[in-house]
Symmetry: C2
Subunit: 383 residues, 2 copies
């Protein structure tokens, strides 16, 4: 295993490179090497190595959990929850966030150089799964010299990684927080992703995935994909409350400009997304999500996935207006955890903000996370 220096500054991280003789074994049967994992850390690992928290990001997230995003210059995607006195506190926790494999922020993905050709992988990158992402994270955690994570935490696709951690590496977990996720992708989830993929692939600048070689990007297709997905992140009532039928200008344009504020908002979401995200990564990560069905590896019985995780303290949280991964799906997870004999606390947070409540100012989420992690820290002796 490659040695890595534990960051001693408040904010650390870098890129962990695994050489060719340490490939990532993928669910597809392929081997991915060399493997690189880009990550950020906040806080210091304590002497007992008992205070490490892994935060797993969602579909379009990255390792810039709580530090300025290098492309957008915006605060990290979960800055709201990470900091002194916040639920994830660098004074107490050693917080790690990795870019998932398949991503486009430094971890090995379709934009990385394929060592066999010397050119970007493009569509020759192997299809990856949520379990593959987690396997890569486990390699990093081991490289960092950490045997047990105090907590693994994530929302949306991050929550799916949390469930996969509980299934595949329960011995490495003390607690687990799964927010606004599901144990499998539904037909509707797959349908929305397929629309996005078709939009990308319909863009002539996609060039069969080889756009890097031509110096172009399928920006229009990727923007449409983002727009379609973005609708699923917001609840209908929140859209109505935020935008309703409010116009951009006085009166209608009687044309196809953005007349309504919601149109302008969506166009902005699409346009700004293409500046920070890669189209092929979008294809691969949505595919990983669609392939996700945790119970499938356990004869269709979700509880079986959690049999070895009885010692793990689970917290499952959902949002009442989330129609992407609904409360019913979180309840299915809790039911399976209970059936497996795991300790699980569950809360449905009442909000009209939909799936995206996970990123937003939602005091009930803050207090649920804080309460669960504080109680777990006491048990862990790191309070």
């Amino acid at each position: 295993m490659t040695a890595v220096e534990i960051p001693t500054s408040e904010t650390g991280g870098g890129t962990q490179r695994f050489p060719a003789d340490q490939p990532l074994r993928l669910d597809s049967g392929a081997l991915l090497s060399p493997l690189e994992i880009a990550y950020k850390t906040y806080g210091r690992l304590n002497a007992e190595k008992s205070n490490a928290v892994l935060v797993c990001h969602a579909l379009t997230g990255d390792q810039h959990l709580a530090s300025t995003h290098p492309t957008t210059g915006k605060p990290g995607w979960w800055s709201r929850f990470v900091g002194p006195g916040l639920p994830l506190d660098p004074e107490r926790h050693f917080i790690i966030c990795t870019n998932v494999i398949g991503g486009c922020m430094g971890s090995t993905g379709p934009g990385s150089i394929d060592p066999t050709t010397g050119r970007p992988y493009g569509l020759s990158f192997p299809v990856i799964t949520i379990a593959d992402m987690v396997r890569a994270q486990a390699m990093l955690i081991e490289a960092l010299g950490i045997e047990t994570l105090f907590a693994v935490v994530g929302g949306s696709m991050g929550g799916m990684q949390v469930l996969q951690w509980a299934a595949d590496y329960p011995e490495k977990l003390f607690s687990a927080v799964c927010i606004a996720a599901a144990a499998r992708h539904s037909a509707q989830n797959i349908a929305f992703h397929e629309v996005g993929r078709q939009a990308i692939m319909a863009d002539p600048d996609w060039r069969g995935g080889a756009y890097d070689l031509y110096g172009v990007k399928p920006e229009k297709g990727l923007a449409v994909a983002r727009m379609a997905a973005h609708i699923t992140y917001l609840s209908e009532p929140a859209l109505q409350r935020k935008f309703g039928r409010e116009l951009q200008r006085d009166g209608l344009s009687w044309g196809f400009d953005a007349d309504f504020q919601v149109e302008s908002y969506l166009r902005h979401q699409g346009a700004s997304f293409v500046d920070r995200f890669d189209a092929n990564s979008y294809l691969y990560i949505t595919r990983a999500l669609d392939y996700f069905d945790l119970a499938a590896g356990y004869g269709g019985v979700l509880a079986e996935a959690f049999r070895r995780a009885r010692h793990v303290r689970f917290c499952v949280l959902s949002f009442s207006s989330d129609w992407l991964y609904s409360t019913a799906e979180s309840r299915d997870i809790v039911r399976a955890l209970n059936a497996a004999g795991c300790r699980a606390s569950f809360a449905e947070i009442t909000t009209d903000k939909g799936h995206d409540a996970f990123f937003l100012d939602e005091p009930a989420l803050d207090s649920a996370l804080r309460g669960f992690l504080s109680a777990a820290a006491e048990r862990r002796g790191i309070a």
Copy 2:
């Protein structure tokens, strides 16, 4: 007014041409001429001219209500409800269905020849509204020599036309049936349409709307638009019931082919749609829907739109799993009808089929429609 021969055969219709001195006055202020309205009829107008039923079609529908579609060769979109012994019975009713203006099946639309240039309108076609569609229908009804419609019936966008008829031409209505519709487009409705429009406009073969001149069609963009919209026509439970995570083949492809049946189904929906529908018509008709807000013309008070319709018998129907135009929106319509002093019967039909239940085998819809129209026919003296 141009004379038109009333079809005496069981199935009739044709194209009504209004000359340049009889333009359609549009809400935008523009005049559309010459105006053509393509329509089909079923049954015969009785001597009293009291048995005419106008059926208004939805976004991608057309005049081929109950006869074979000329492009697809499939039965008309509402054949299930039109025929001897069915709720709409050519033995008793004179049933009329027109292609909306802006459409692509013979009525004047963006694919028609602009008389000022001799070339297809493309984006120089004026933006139209639901009220414009209804105004054109009223011109046809008058040309057919019909003073009062026994009923105006429609679902989805057809239901919006029904509401607009009640607001603009209540004196011409005896009864009105509004199925799975809303009195205005919500922010979420607009958002989904904007995704579709952006998908079409992102297709380089759209050519700024002038694709007809280049002998190409923005098929990929239009297919993506249809796929995104199609998801909104189905409920999540119906998608799960029909497709779940069922695969196309044994095992996953580990690639980007359609692995899941729901992907294949959506791709088929997109691919078959482009054979029968025009991209610019899709832009114009979705715009008309987004502009629809019936109360806006009445100081924001929907009831005021129905003040002159107290003599009209209304039937409002919704589907419990319709999340495009939900039961709550039908209830808003009923509340406004009640506030205006109109007679309105309302039923929410329990089904998991979502918005598309309107087209499907839904016995409760059949019996609600049959019951309402029979009672109205008795009152009208045409039973």
